[in-house]
């Protein structure tokens, strides 16, 4: 039996922001080809997890470790993580006035590539990815996320993911605020990347999971994973909410 390649291993992770503990002892492992979903209430620490894995400087790891492809991550800065194959789809992507999407995409792909970018090959790849996400060419001359609707921003995040071909894809509420068609298109992007990567999807809603089939669903409460299950767990959460999973729920009952 061939073991799946380990992409991400988090062990007993504790994270603070400005001295306030947010993640309090979280462990998980993501292997290649696996889709993991994290669900939980607002403030549970889900986005913190995605940001700390990507290396956001505002977050401090106070205990525990993160390994990416079996190597410790702590010493790598954000751009080095990106070049190593990590990708974060932001919940609120930054607006960058004056920087055209086409220029930005080209520079990004060039940055993570080991070889000089070939114009024709890049254009072909770009055209295919845009067609797959049903995006208009005119978006390339617009400024990055400037004046974009919520759906357009998320599609642009997916476009970047397809072009950058990550080994680890972290998707922070990529489905939030999307209409049904946009949700379907975003899911299509995730499904294209997923077979070759490890995916960690943070979401509040089960509806994305109608299009993306997760291998594991984790529930995060108070900075910890308190329950892990399969796709059915998301349906159960949709029906019952989170109260029944509170550590004190059994005692009160």
């Amino acid at each position: 039996m061939v073991m799946a390649r380990e992409i991400l291993r988090i062990e007993n992770l504790h994270v603070s922001v400005e001295g306030t503990p947010i993640i309090r002892g979280l462990s998980m492992t993501i292997n290649q080809g696996e889709i993991h979903v994290i669900m939980g209430r607002n403030g549970a620490g889900k986005s913190t997890l995605a940001n700390v894995v990507m290396g956001h400087p505002a977050y401090e790891i106070t205990e525990g470790s993160i390994h990416y492809c079996s190597e410790p991550l702590e010493e790598l800065s954000v751009f080095e993580r990106a070049r190593a194959g990590m990708f974060l789809s932001f919940q609120y992507p930054a607006v960058i006035p004056g920087v055209q999407v086409g220029t930005f995409l080209k520079k990004s792909v060039q940055s993570v590539s080991d070889e000089p970018l070939k114009g024709r090959a890049f254009r072909k790849q770009l055209n295919e990815a845009m067609a797959s996400l049903e995006m208009e060419k005119s978006v390339l001359s617009r400024y990055v996320n400037d004046g974009f609707s919520g759906g357009e921003k998320k599609r642009l995040e997916m476009l970047q993911m397809l072009l950058l071909k990550p080994t680890l894809a972290l998707l922070d509420e990529t489905d939030s605020g999307l209409d049904i068609d946009a949700l379907r298109i975003v899911a299509k992007g995730i499904n294209q990347v997923a077979p070759d990567a490890g995916c960690l999807i943070i979401t509040h809603y089960q509806r994305l999971l109608d299009h993306v089939k997760p291998h594991f669903v984790h529930v995060m409460i108070d900075g910890k994973i308190i329950k892990t299950g399969g796709a059915d767990l998301a349906l159960e959460l949709e029906a019952k909410g989170y109260d029944w999973l509170e550590p004190t729920a059994g005692a009160e009952a």
Binding site: M54, H56, P57, S77, V78, F79, R81, A82, R83, F87, L88, F90, P93, A94, V95, I96, P97, G98, V99, T103, F104, K107, S108, S111, V112, Y143, V144, Q160, L164
Partner: protein
């Protein structure tokens, strides 16, 4: 009034507060030194003829000084055969001076490129944007990095004309720009956009006056200054709307991007609105590089210096976003990109 009889302007004067006259004068303030005429050349679609109307304010020291420094002047006329006309202005010698007048009877985009090794360059640009024309003028200052520039502009915009004026300031050590535009016909629109790149010890001063002397006129002014090292950008605006100039719409936005702890930037919009039925607004902001933007670009693989360069380029490109002439926007952005790429290679 002769220059010799004029008093050195006080620093209490809004115009001379940040770049006092003695600091921009080429030698001792009492002197009018010998000057070499600026060399002009023009591309197809335009012609340069000797002579230009004298449009000198009797009160304004810089303009009087420039007129006494050199009597040589040229007038550009465009024949309407080319959408874009390029003018090269080369400043050489210890002191260089030139006066360019533009008479535009046709819709056209004029790109003026200033370069040269002059220690000091004085430039007076004037023009009349005739009724019902659409004229765009771009000015790129790429003087050598040790040169001083004194630039005065005087434009009039006539009835139903559309005038767009863009400036890219990337050259010279100390630059004083005094740019004035006056509406003298209703239905006219004027858009001015300026991008500044401050490096090393550069001191760049833009004073922009827009005078709505007639009603039903629209103007916008945007200045984006990115300041690095120990550079200093000053942007002062004076927007006036006369008492009888109702139904004007005017706005000024000044933005500064500070890239080092020693970089400084001043942004001082000033409005004198005497009419009642107008829309007039102004805003100013100075900030360092946005950390969210930086983090976002780095999360896509760009190293910190690459990410910062891209943000600066975007910020300066965005300075021209308020313009609507595609040719002008394209030309200014191309010049900017070339400049920034050259800077990166240094």
């Amino acid at each position: 009034m002769k220059y010799a009889k004029m008093a050195v302007p006080s620093r209490a004067d809004h115009l001379w507060r940040y770049t006092p006259w003695p600091r921009i004068h080429p030698s001792s303030v009492e002197l009018v030194p010998e000057a070499t005429p600026t060399r002009w050349s023009v591309s197809e679609g335009g012609s340069l003829e000797d002579g230009a109307p004298r449009l000198i304010s009797e009160e304004e020291i810089a303009r009087i000084f420039l007129s006494e420094l050199g009597r040589d002047a040229v007038t550009l006329t465009v024949d309407g055969t080319q959408p874009v006309v390029h003018i090269q202005a080369v400043a050489s010698g210890h002191v260089s001076v030139g006066h360019l007048h533009i008479e535009a009877q046709h819709d056209v985009t004029v790109l003026i490129h200033l370069s040269g090794e002059a220690d000091w360059c004085g430039l007076h640009m004037t023009g009349a944007i005739r009724s019902n024309t659409r004229v765009s003028v771009g000015f790129v200052n790429e003087l050598s990095k040790n040169g001083k520039l004194l630039r005065c502009d005087d434009w009039t915009v006539e009835r139903d004309a559309t005038f767009e004026h863009a400036s890219l300031s990337v050259g010279g050590f100390r630059c004083k720009n005094d740019l004035r535009t006056r509406f003298n016909g209703p239905g006219a629109t004027f858009k001015q956009a300026i991008s500044v790149h401050g490096k090393e010890q550069r001191h760049i001063d833009h004073h922009v006056e827009i005078h709505h002397d007639v009603g039903h006129t629209n103007s916008s002014l945007t200045i984006h200054a990115a300041c690095d090292d120990a550079s200093h950008s000053v942007s002062t605006g004076l927007l006036t709307i006369a008492q009888t100039s109702n139904h004007c719409d005017a706005g000024q936005v000044f933005k500064n991007l500070l890239l080092s702890e020693k970089a400084r930037a001043e942004a001082i919009p000033e409005l004198e609105v005497l009419a009642d039925e107008v829309a007039a607004a102004h805003g100013a902001a100075s900030s360092p590089v946005d950390l969210d933007q930086l983090h976002y670009l780095m999360s896509r693989g760009l190293a910190p210096d690459e990410a910062t360069s891209l943000i600066v380029e975007g910020f300066m490109h965005d300075g021209f976003s308020s313009l609507s002439s595609p040719a002008l926007i394209h030309e200014m952005r191309t010049r900017l990109t070339v400049h920034l790429e050259c800077e990166l290679k240094r």
